[in-house]
Subunit: 208 residues, 2 copies
């Protein structure tokens, strides 16, 4: 199994956490996003969207989109479960994850910030955009988080997997994360686990 | 069951299709997005993110995020299934859906286009942004679509539920959708079903 990613990509980071929680080893293959390596023809053959991550299985099958990859991991390697058993709680966990993975992260990825610069926005305006997007998404999650040591209950779930990388992005864009005490408490619980610690960008071989 | 939405919201549209496919009746409650009704305190109590749709159950429980709502519907009302049984095919369907629901739609919703205008972009540049975002997402989906009458197989799935509203948005933003023949063939199959036809914006009571 090969995980095509990039150390700083929040979506790749999510999949690294999920693989670690499941105890699955995958060979990392780095594609340098700032150099545009995800748009090379060889990579586009793997993922026509030109985004990381992509999980390449041993038979050559390629899975894309971090949340789809994580759902596949959870369905094929059920323990430890990354979603609660109760459908209503699953819906809460998924909604929390999607606030970040759908309504936050895609608005502040490299491609979008590059497009904002091309559209004539100043660097300060681009940074303010990224900061505001992160702050809004996290503010919603601060209210949506459930009970327990983690975002929903006493075990890490898809919600925590999406939260930790997004808090990392928020700090990079200068968001004052102290306004999110519940999220920071969840993050501290996550960071105490090796599965999360080993997944952080700074601990990846392609980290700069 | 009450579906809080807006006739033109692509995310609300997705949930309407899913409810129709499942044969579930939900009372529609319209929140006028252009008038900012989704940001009123009464609505924020239902969904702190201030986004539609939200599905309010009879016991007052509120589910948010269209993909989380649809997954809950599929888990609690299994037939007809909105995901294939095979984990790998489920991953393909989810990835296709997420290209649209995570990487396309959130980049061209009302709030983001409003923010681009506030940032100083001309109306032409805002329209070009929305058009390009739609074209990119659909171009990836044209390549990611599987075999069968629908996006993946011979029954509608979450992929089709996300595709049809996004094609609607793409046309509104002036994308030449003729460049996506496979997607248009899938859309034609969908449009032949009452579940899709009854969900289109023009057929909603709050349509303008």
């Amino acid at each position: 199994m090969r995980l095509h990613g990039y150390f700083r990509s929040a979506a790749s980071w999510r999949v690294r956490i999920a693989l670690n929680l499941k105890g699955i080893k995958a060979e990392g293959v780095s594609h340098h996003l700032r150099k545009g390596e995800q748009c090379l023809p060889t990579y586009l053959k793997l993922n026509p969207q030109g985004f990381v991550p992509a999980l390449e299985l041993d038979d050559g099958t390629v899975l894309t989109q971090s949340l789809a990859i994580i759902a596949w991991l959870d369905e094929t390697h059920p323990l430890p479960a990354l979603l609660p058993a109760d459908p209503l709680m699953r819906a809460k966990v998924r909604a929390f994850a999607l606030v970040l993975a759908a309504d936050t992260h895609p608005l502040q990825n490299l491609a979008v910030l590059g497009k904002l610069r091309e559209s004539g926005l100043s660097e300060a305006a681009v940074q303010a955009w990224a900061s505001e997007v992160n702050a809004r998404g996290l503010a919603a999650c601060e209210k949506l988080a459930g009970q327990g040591r983690f975002a929903f209950g006493d075990a890490p779930s898809l919600a925590d997997i999406c939260l930790v990388p997004q808090l990392g992005n928020a700090r990079r864009f200068g968001v004052d994360v102290a306004q999110f005490p519940r999220l920071l408490a969840i993050e501290a619980q996550c960071n105490a686990l090796a599965a999360f610690g080993e997944a952080v960008p700074a601990n990846q071989p392609d980290a700069e």
